[in-house]
Amino acid sequence: MKMEYSIEGGDFTKAGLASSAVKKVLKQLNIDPAQIKRIAVAMYEAEVNIVAHAYSGIMKVEIDAKKVYMRFVDKGPGIENIDKAMEEGYSTASEAVRQMGFGAGMGLPNIKKNVDEMKISSEINKGTTLELTTFLN
């Protein structure tokens, strides 16, 4: 089962549509509710990251009986320091920024917390690829 959605950078009004569509599919596949919730949070966060930071992106989702695999590929500025973006503290700071209504923080630690595997690669001025996997049961 494969799905693909394009995500537009800068359009916050549409952010979350792709995640909601996938979430509905997960529910129809009878995946454990607690797992759906974690996947949904990770997926939404990743989708919003593209909207907030990139020019455009694609979200691909592959589901089989063992796992849910999500791949987010964006065209954008890329991440300069991935290690720093992965720090918990970094996320807390960006939370405060978000509360003030500025661009969303990367939320990467939060994504990582909600999936089993996370791979990230980024090239400055080209874009970022984020791969997430959740194993079922």
């Binding site: 089962m1 995640s19 909601s20 529910k27 009878n30």
Partner: protein
């Protein structure tokens, strides 16, 4: 497919239904289909919200009715009635006259169902403090919402507050009081005057409880008619007019939008109307909406003032209750308040019985219990969808193109039920038979 596992109170009158599909389109859990010219309800998906009943142009959807005569086998016949009921009547009818009108119907006791909210407030605040890992705590007040979450948002089931609604607390306290006064338990009948179908379903097959303490229900619109004609004819002189109003001000508004959230500490929000609630719950499920401590969610616009069994305009009901609350504050300053002590007297007992058991998700949207099979079905759905026009006209009897595709893989419909597929296939004349299986033979006769 599945055995119905819970009671639901909405019924479709097959003789009246014209198969117009209005109801299928508005159902928030996609529980309705039109087959053979009649609406069919998937009982396991139905959450008794009443959206279908609101849109049916021919009133083919009704709420099951209990005969009011069912109260008479009991010696103590207690009416538990939402304060919303008082708001159904024109403003010049005093609450105590309305109470008297109710006694005239055969009840021996009349109490408002919001009693107990006072104790609940303190308990909800404690509950939120103790369950911070499940924030936001979602109110369990509206049974249609509890069921919506079970069916459509199973991952939020653990956020539902596991405390009873005031109605159940009031029922416990008044029953206990009657037992202390010497009634045997089987002599006491507690009847809830309900503004909606969801409460009926919740009483007949409670979620998170074995059995309800409430013995039966009376539909609010039915009782309204009876009481109103009694009031009109001034036939209540023989009864003992009950004492003054007994609810506290925080209890009077409990069934209105904002009634709960106003008394809960922390960051709270009240949301009413099913579509608003669905949008909000989506946001919570995505992690898009965060940092709330408590959300009050009600299926009806203006909460229970907008229940499907109410009679009065919901805004006028709200106005009347707001007025009642203001008057309470005035009376209080003049020292004229009569408080009902039953709840306080049984406070300990209520607190001991305030919890409900855990609530289970009921993922009714699943295509199959087996995930491999579900995946196969999902792939077929995708394929079928690519042939369908995607305009969701519902002429096939399923609410959307997607649900038609789902029904096809579940074996309950055919791709050629889609009228666009029929035209593009240039379906030969004998295929009219297929149209008949959706619209029924009679429909075409009627139209000619």
């Amino acid at each position: 497919m599945n055995e119905p596992t819970f009671h639901h109170a909405l019924k479709i009158l097959e003789e009246v239904c014209t198969g117009c599909v209005h109801c299928t389109v508005v159902c928030p859990t996609e529980a309705l289909r039109v087959r053979n010219g009649k609406a069919i309800l998937n009982e396991n998906r139905c959450i008794d919200c009443g959206e279908c009943m609101n849109v049916c142009p021919v009133n083919a959807i009704i709420v099951e009715q209990n005969d009011i005569a069912e109260i008479f086998p009991y010696k103590a016949r207690v009416a538990l009635v939402s304060s919303i009921f008082i708001g159904q009547f024109p403003r010049h009818y005093q609450t105590r006259k309305i109470y008297s009108g109710m006694l005239e119907q055969g009840f021996t006791h009349v109490h408002e169902s919001e009693h107990g909210a006072g104790i609940l407030i303190e308990q909800i605040n404690q509950y939120i403090a103790q369950n911070s890992q499940n924030k936001p705590i979602i109110s369990s007040f509206c049974p249609a919402i509890v069921r919506l979450i079970q069916v459509r948002f199973p991952s939020l089931v653990e956020n539902i507050m596991l405390l009873k609604a005031p109605l159940d607390l009031a029922a416990l306290a008044f029953k206990k009081e009657l037992i202390e006064k010497g009634y045997k338990e089987e002599e006491i009948g507690i009847f809830y005057v309900t503004p909606c179908a969801a409460k009926i379903a919740a009483i007949k097959s409670p979620v998170g409880e074995e059995k309800s303490v409430i013995n039966g229900v009376v539909n609010m619109n039915e009782l309204y008619n009876k009481v109103y004609s009694t009031l009109k004819k001034e036939q209540y002189s023989s009864c003992i007019i009950p004492e003054k109003e007994q609810l506290k001000s925080e209890e009077m508004g409990w069934s209105l939008t904002g009634g709960e959230a106003a008394y809960i500490q922390g960051r709270c929000l009240s949301i009413d109307g099913l579509n608003n609630v669905i949008e909000f719950l989506e946001g919570i499920e995505n992690g898009k909406i965060t940092n709330f401590d408590f959300i009050e969610v009600r299926a009806c616009d203006q909460s229970c003032a907008g229940g499907i069994l109410t009679v009065a305009n919901r805004f006028l009901t709200r106005e009347r209750l707001d007025e009642r609350i203001a008057k309470y504050h005035h009376d209080k300053s003049e020292g004229k308040i009569f408080d009902n002590k039953t709840i306080e007297n049984h406070g300990r007992y209520i607190r001991d019985h305030i919890s409900i058991n855990s609530i289970e998700p009921r993922s009714m949207l699943k295509l199959d219990d087996n995930m491999e099979a579900a995946l196969k079905k999902m792939s077929r759905i995708k394929k079928i969808l690519s042939y369908l026009p995607g305009i969701d006209c519902a002429a096939c009897g399923s609410p959307t193109c997607r649900t038609l595709a789902e029904d096809v893989v579940q074996g309950t419909a055919h791709t050629s039920d889609c009228i666009f597929i029929q035209t593009s296939l240039n379906v030969p004349p004998n295929e009219e038979i297929r149209a008949e299986t959706i619209w029924g033979k009679d429909r075409f006769r009627k139209l000619l």
